[in-house]
Symmetry: C2
Subunit: 261 residues, 2 copies
């Protein structure tokens, strides 16, 4: 098992930024930042107090760990261009299997933070679930030690589970936020502040955490209240995309209730 | 303005139960509970330490306020059968306009708690938004006083705003919970516990409360990452209802991003 202290960050987006800062705070030395554009590379390098490059070929050698935190389509490219084929490399993607890295690199792994990061929104990294996978147990143990230095929420998750986690996160986080945005938009037109929904949103989440979400489903679709559903669909007729979402989710809720009963 | 102290609850569902208990705790005297079935009527009457009836014709006279907390389709029926046409009556529905009550009753109003109630899940009523409307300002003031005795979150909301609020709540609460349930279901199949998503769900809500939700949208659809979206849709092919929801919400997110940029 190796102590992973010297780290190179390839990527300068939301995940790379939050992860790089957390690692630096935990005492790691960030050697270098890579990003395709000089602007984003230098911005993160400044925050991490290190050098930067915009050419994958110029990635420093000698780091204990290379973290590739890039969009999925850019990952394959950088793995080909990456000059240090024996180095230990992880990616941070929810949807790329470990086997994809294995084609290019001998010592590889995954370091997937299951969280939503916005560049300018600070967050406490200490409770972010870190989902780890590696090409062998020694590297997995090294990753685990590193992960525990920045979070108390560390999991071993294989590639198939991670892909499912990613899909689940899209439903429960990304899509949920879009539903909030829809609510905000239709309330704004009526002169009502979105804040009035805050207690409801908090309670919805609290109940879903303390129970099985399907067991605490409420609302018109859950009680198959067709007159209310029809009324709402009619009110949404000027917003066809939202009307379609209302319709399909309502149907899905009603179906789920039928299956349960 | 009248002090509303003696109250009759028509209805014994989730809203009636939580509201009745909160009013009793605040010092109101609940005179009677009405429900169509003896079982639910007696259950709530026991909790509120009062009598009950299963016949609308037998609703006690002399209460300061009658709260009709029934399914929408049952409201019109009880308003017809209700014998005390001069009494002050409110309903607790998000989707029935004040004008519907006005056809049957002179002194009427709305007392709409914007919250999700599950019968066996206790909650702090003190922060539940109460949306009020009444046939005249005197009754509205009386309602406001009553509302402030159980919550610090009281709003005057007209019928059209309330209907929009109800639709917004369906999106942001009921539909959000269904997305949680979908996430739970697909994770369970993979042997992963839903709990691993909790920090992500908390952060999603925290960000949406502190920002405009549309401004903090993340995920594959927000960055128009078609390969990931295609991969997810393919993985969902055995769950066509969820695949359809994935597809339409993703399209809606991408459309919203286009409109913003």
């Amino acid at each position: 098992m190796q102590d992973l202290k010297k780290i190179v960050m390839a990527g300068a987006g939301n995940v790379a930024t939050h992860l790089g800062l957390a690692l630096k705070d935990a005492g790691c030395e960030i050697l270098q930042v890579y990003s395709r554009t000089q602007e984003s590379a230098s911005l993160l390098a400044n925050k991490l107090n290190c050098t930067f490059t915009t050419r994958a070929e110029d990635l420093s050698k000698g780091a204990d760990l290379y973290i590739f935190s890039l969009a999925d389509h850019a990952l394959e490219e950088i793995m080909q261009a990456f000059p240090h084929k024996d180095a230990f490399v992880v990616h941070t993607s929810g949807s790329i299997g470990l086997d994809v890295m294995g084609r290019h690199l001998k010592n590889c792994g995954v370091f997937y933070p299951l969280q939503t990061f916005s560049r300018d929104v600070s967050l406490d990294f200490g409770s972010v679930p870190l989902c780890l996978e590696a090409s062998d147990t020694l590297h997995l143990e090294s990753l685990k030690n590193l992960a525990l230095s920045i979070s108390n929420n560390v999991h071993f998750i294989n590639s198939q589970q991670r892909e499912t986690l990613h899909i689940a996160a899209v439903f429960a986080c990304n899509f949920t936020n879009h539903l909030y945005a829809i609510a905000d938009e239709i309330l704004e037109k009526e002169g009502v502040d979105f804040d009035i929904l805050h207690p409801l949103l908090e309670e919805t989440l609290r109940k879903a955490k303390q129970n099985k979400p399907a067991d605490v489903q409420t609302g018109p679709a859950a009680r198959n209240d067709l007159p209310v559903i029809q009324k709402h669909l009619q009110r949404l007729s000027s917003l066809p995309a939202y009307q379609k979402i209302y319709n399909f989710i309502s149907q899905s809720i009603t179906e789920s209730k039928k299956k349960k009963s």
